[in-house]
């Protein structure tokens, strides 16, 4: 049988979809690093999110299970142990008394990503309390929150800006997979910067205490020593408000000079970010009891190369500057939606959806066969239905769309309309032999195109409804019916023409 251009297009698009989905990833062995705790020894040694662990101490790691078994067999205790972690991006050697500070999972079996309701995880939809945020305010909020989350050491998180049909803007924070962090606490306890001497607070982040923060030029810089020793230093100055400066004077007045290091006072200025000690600054003796508005904040960061260390120092400086400038989050935020889905429930949902797909295919095959009594027709309808679902999945994988339950409902609903159209094509082509086959198929296409446009316009408003919660449903339906009308149905019409000729 000669294959026409329309069928060729279908074959090509199906191959591209297969490429996009990449189901052969199932056969890849190893364990994927999902996140690395920032400032941990694992991070310092160069382990990064996305690397694939292939062996631990020379023993092969084929799956997540292998990894956790090898790590628990090592019995980390008070002693420093050497751990050789081989990844697809080289070998890393860790010396630590703790297991590597990373979260690991199996390598995803394909490029298809499933949404939170199917894979488990937490998400929060956040808006400002008593204030309508503009989209630029939301992106400011996102910047600050991303920054803060980094301080927290949470890497496997996605933050996005979402707006709805009525122009409300939201921030969406999503943490995939299992997480022990309570997203809620994390969002509401954000952004505390404190400078303390002993347990007295001298100043905190935000404009009340901090008049300005220098962000460039002479007053804020990163420098690496000319003979590189793994570290680069950063330094920037801040200007305190008169009240904060007065407070500094009042507190330091009563602090004696350090006997063993007489250039400095005996107590230091400790900088805390969200209650974690970030930096300790020694206070020069000439600052004792003086009202000074200029404070310089310094620190150093390390890296394997001079470039890396420079970048790390620069990032750290930026982070501190942002926190000092913004203080706590600029808006009192309110969590308007908060979902935490357990991964095991998601797993059984996924399993049931696959069963459902098989059952639907089976029932429809039987119905079609009973009606048309022709294997060829039944097979080509089923093949077309499968192609539409497959192309939809391929496009979803290509645009990294997270398939949630509504998205999958959309795929199945799209398959339903696809079958309807094919029945129209079959019935038009096998009945009413008075007019030419071409004419009959043209008529079928009129009905199909009409139905296509109505379904697309019916789905469009869903894109903007309710913070995009049903976007997936609209998206997969529209992709499905579009793939249908552009690719599979022309091919199907051609196949039917050949069968009935």
């Amino acid at each position: 049988m000669k294959i026409g251009i329309r069928v060729w297009i279908l074959i090509i698009v199906l191959s591209l979809s297969l490429l996009a989905i990449s189901p052969w990833k199932t056969f890849k062995e190893g364990a994927l690093i999902k996140s690395v705790e920032i400032n941990s020894s694992a991070f310092d040694q160069g382990l990064r999110q996305g690397q694939i662990i292939t062996s631990i101490d020379g023993k092969a790691v084929r799956s997540f299970e292998d990894f956790s078994k090898l790590i628990s067999d090592k019995n980390y205790s008070s002693e420093n142990l050497k751990t050789i972690v081989s990844t697809d991006q080289g070998e890393f050697i860790l010396f630590s008394d703790k297991p590597p500070e990373i979260t690991v999972s199996d390598i995803p079996s394909s490029n298809i990503k499933t949404g939170l309701d199917l894979s488990g995880g937490s998400r929060a939809l956040v808006k400002a309390q008593d204030k309508e945020l503009t989209s630029s305010e939301v992106s400011d909020l996102i910047d600050i929150v991303s920054n803060r989350l980094n301080v927290y050491g949470i890497a496997d998180v996605q933050i996005s800006s979402i707006s709805d049909l009525e122009g409300n803007n939201f921030m969406m924070v999503e943490i995939a997979g299992a997480t022990t962090t309570d997203l809620k606490d994390m969002l509401s306890s954000q952004g505390k910067f404190e400078a303390k001497i002993g347990n007295q607070t001298v100043f905190i982040g935000g404009e009340k205490d901090i008049a300005s923060v220098s962000r460039g030029g002479q007053e804020a810089y990163v420098e690496c020593p000319s003979s590189f020793s793994g570290f680069c230093d950063f330094k920037f100055s801040i200007t305190l408000s008169p009240e904060a400066a007065q407070k500094h004077a009042d507190i330091t007045r009563n602090i004696p000079i350090n006997a063993s290091n007489p250039e400095y006072l005996s107590q230091s200025l400790d900088l805390y970010v969200d209650d974690n000690l970030q930096t300790t600054l020694l206070i020069g003796k000439d600052l004792q009891g003086r009202v000074t508005t200029q404070v310089s904040i310094s620190g150093s960061e390390k890296g394997d190369t001079k470039d890396e260390a420079y970048k790390a120092a620069q990032n750290e400086m930026k982070k501190l500057q942002t926190i000092l400038i913004t203080g706590s989050l600029p808006y009192k935020i309110e969590i308007v939606k908060m979902d935490t889905i357990s991964p095991s429930l998601g797993e059984s949902f996924t399993k049931n959806i696959i069963y459902l797909g098989l059952i639907v295919f089976f029932i429809i095959s039987i119905i079609l066969f009973v009606k048309y009594r022709k294997i060829k027709i039944t097979l080509s309808v089923i093949l077309t239905m499968f192609s539409e679902a497959f192309i939809t999945l391929g496009i979803a994988a290509l645009i990294s769309w997270n398939l949630d339950a509504p998205s999958i409902a959309g795929i199945i609903a799209g398959m339903g309309t696809g079958i309807n159209d094919q029945i129209v094509i079959i019935d038009e082509s096998i009945s009413n032999k008075q007019i030419s086959l071409k004419e009959r198929i043209k008529k079928a296409l009129f009905i199909i195109v009409g139905a296509f446009f109505t379904i697309v316009v019916a789905m469009l408003p869903l894109f903007w409804v309710g913070a995009g919660m049903l976007k997936g449903f609209a998206l997969t339906t529209i992709i499905g019916v579009s793939a249908g009308i552009l690719i599979t149905r022309p091919a199907f019409a051609e196949i039917i023409r050949r069968i009935s000729e």
Binding site: D164, L165, E166, A178, T180, I335, V336, K337, D339, T340, I341, S342, P343, S344, L345, S348, F349, N352, I353, Y355, L356, I359, I363, I364, I367, A405, P406, I408, A409, I412, A413, M415, G416, T417, I419, N420, I423, V424, D427, Q434, I435, K443, F446, G450, A451, F453, T454, V457, A458, M459, L460, P461, L462, V465, G466, A467, M469, F473, A474, T477
Partner: protein, 305 residues
Amino acid sequence: MENVPEIIKEEKKKLFKNFNYDKSYKILFFIPFVILLISLIYLGVFYSKNGDIIYKDVSLSGGTSITLNGEIDQSQIEISLKEKFPDVSFTRLEDITTGKQIALMIESSASPDELKAGVEDVIGYHLNEEDFSIEFTGASLSNDFYRQLILALIISFVLMSIVIFVMFKTFIPSTAVIFAIFADIAIPLALIDIMGIKISAAGIAAFLMLVGYSVDTDILLTSRALKSREEPLNTRIFKAFKTGSFMTITALAAVLPAFFIVTGLPDSFRQIFLILAIGLFADLINTWLTNAGIIKWYCKRKGIQ
């Protein structure tokens, strides 16, 4: 025994011969019309009683839903939970292959912390992340959400009407299609209310989907009736009916298993399919009795044979 099917076939033929569509279409037209009228009256009464045309679930009214994994006996916790949370409701999720319960969903308008604490009290142990899922929607967001979904439904309906008018360019046939789709939404809505089902956000999306699903058959009917002349009108309508009803039956076969066979699915997911299924049944009568009746009457008036 062997000729029994033949007899049935003969009977069937007779039935179709005696069936005179030219006479009966007006009566047939009124059956769905009466059902629609009853539905609308019911929805009106429902609205005056409940202040809304549907029962809303927590995603549309605000509140918390907790899904406990595993075999949790609902009867044991129901009474004590109802004391604390009078509006609490339960849904059982089952595994498709074994029929075993995989989870129990508990819904209430309470805050997540309250409901979680309440559930922990009743079941007697502390819930950790592996044991349960929790979803919370704030009241203000769910109100916005609901209002926008209704707005989306109206926008969809208007856009869809425009497409229909552009396709057929004549007033009465286009209006007939739009009327049939309106009935496809109104009748299932009343039925869902009668069944006492709480509609979720995804459920309202299903009504939008219904628009797309039901329009195929209406377009099929209208275009077959108006755009060809090779066969008599009644034959064209009857053939369209044969194609269209088969379309609806296969569509039902695609959506029904999701409700009746595979019960261990997210509730939002199952609801989409339930609403589609009811809508497809409604579509059978609305297309082939109402819409066909109007088209028949229109063709007669215009002298289309």
